[in-house]
Amino acid sequence: MAPDAKITVRNVSKTFRTGRGGVQALEGIDFQVGEGEFVALVGPSGCGKSTLLNMLAGFDRPDTGEALVDGRPVLAPSRKGVLITQRGSVFPWMNVQRNLGFGVNGMPEAEQESLTRHYIELVGLQGFEQAFPHELSGGMLQRVEVARALMAKPDVLYMDEPFAALDALTRLRMREELIRILERERHTCILVTHDVEEALHLADRILVISTRPGRIQRTVEVDVPHPRRLSSIRLVALREMVLSELGVTQGEDRTARPAVAGTGVQKLTAGWASDN
């Protein structure tokens, strides 16, 4: 990989203290992400993938190793790398328009206005500029979240299970929306998810992470152009590959494709089964 990668994670480890001693969340993580690339980190709950994202976004520090963006460690959160999570952080005391403007405070008003109009249109929220968050659906809130993040012109977009709290149909629609938005405005993206299908739908590359301590178990290139059909032979094969890597195989496949044993993965909430 190019030495001037956008993001370089080198030998990162992290241990959390708990009442019963330390829990090693991550161990010896190495990977790089190129400019404009979309990488998904897939793994079971509690494998430390969110921790990794927090480090890259500047909310946490690695114990060992380094997490670099543009060759420099991220010492504090900034607009350069905006993090979107499933909990949602659209401010409920501001209408949609003012939420979008939050990230670009200090910009001349006219400029801010035209930018807001652009992003409202990009995420399809025309007519809701003056609406307050409590009047919007979950899917619309995540659109506001995405629009607000993009409006701050980040170099990297970090997404921590951004659509996990949405219902299955809305989740699917939001994935399509995200692909459409990123086609118009390319960003370097890192997505954390335990939904294998979501990763296959969106990412250029999938890093499969094992359970505690989280290690990169396998890298899967998703060499399928958009628009992707999840039922295509190639994607079905990739899905099985990722799943078996995570220690999960579906019943009918067991004869055709023996499970890879001993990966240390005990639990997985897979995306296409009823999630959560």
Binding site: A76, S78, R79, V82, F91, P92, W93, G103, F132
Partner: protein
């Protein structure tokens, strides 16, 4: 449609007035509702009514605003910094249960019998509910909002101004509503003891100077109506778009 909504409340008030009237008919001292209405009209004609209302409201306004000006910043510091909470909260919790009425002797000693005494008592009465509500509101600000703001490079006082304060505002307003209610209770009590103007004084004076119980009850009715009006103003605040999210629509 709308008048119908108020019908049950008006009905209950009518029943109470009717019962009152029946009870009062046989009494020489206890005034009938009609006598009270006449007394209010008499006060209004003399111009003393407005004078007393103004005196009471003036003290409440100064004491209340003073308390807000101190309680909201202090409560914010306590809610945000555990050290501040640890240092200040014990004092707050010790002083809070002392009824403002118990401070009256000290208030007279320190501030005399002018406007300053009741204003000080109202300050005390309002300060504690607002401090406690602000501290808990700020403490409970959800972390994802703070993280998002930091992510957009918003820190320090800007973070307080743009995120922490508005996020805590619904709690603060609830504290302000409680505080204003207590303030109105206290001003009347203070005026009955220490002062020679205001609605509390009106009541005590009416009794002392000739057992004018019609004026006593007139004062009570006016206190009730103004208290109701003050609470309506606070409820208006709670229905603002900026805070409604917290109260569940």
């Amino acid at each position: 449609m709308k008048p119908l909504r108020y019908l049950p409340a008006l009905g209950i008030i009518a029943v109470i007035i009717a019962l009152w009237w029946v009870t009062a008919l046989g009494s020489l001292i206890f005034p009938t509702p009609l006598a009270v209405v006449k007394a209010i009209a008499e006060l209004a004609r003399e111009g003393t009514l407005l004078q007393h209302v103004y005196a009471s409201l003036y003290r409440v306004t100064i004491g209340y605003l003073g308390a807000l000006a101190l309680a909201i910043p202090l409560g914010s510091l306590m809610g945000w910094f555990p050290r501040w909470f640890g240092a200040v909260n014990p004092v707050v919790q010790i002083l809070r249960p002392i009824s403002p009425i118990a401070w009256i002797p000290l208030a007279i000693l320190w501030f005399g019998v002018g406007d300053a005494s009741p204003t000080f008592l109202i300050f005390l009465a309002t300060f504690f509910p607002v401090v406690v509500a602000t501290a808990s509101g700020v403490h409970l600000v959800e972390q994802q909002y703070v993280r998002a703001a930091r992510n957009f490079g918003v820190n320090g006082f800007k973070l307080y101004q743009r995120v922490i304060f508005p996020a805590a505002l619904p709690n603060i307003i609830t504290g302000m509503r409680v505080g204003l209610g207590v303030a109105w209770l206290v001003v009347v009590a203070a005026e009955m003891v220490a002062i020679n103007s205001g609605l509390g004084y009106l009541i005590i004076d009416a009794r002392n100077a000739g057992s004018r119980y019609d004026l006593v009850v007139a004062g009570m009715v006016i206190i009730g109506i103004i208290g109701f009006g003050l609470d309506a103003v606070m409820r208006r605040l709670e229905s603002l778009e900026e805070v409604r999210w917290r109260y569940g629509t």
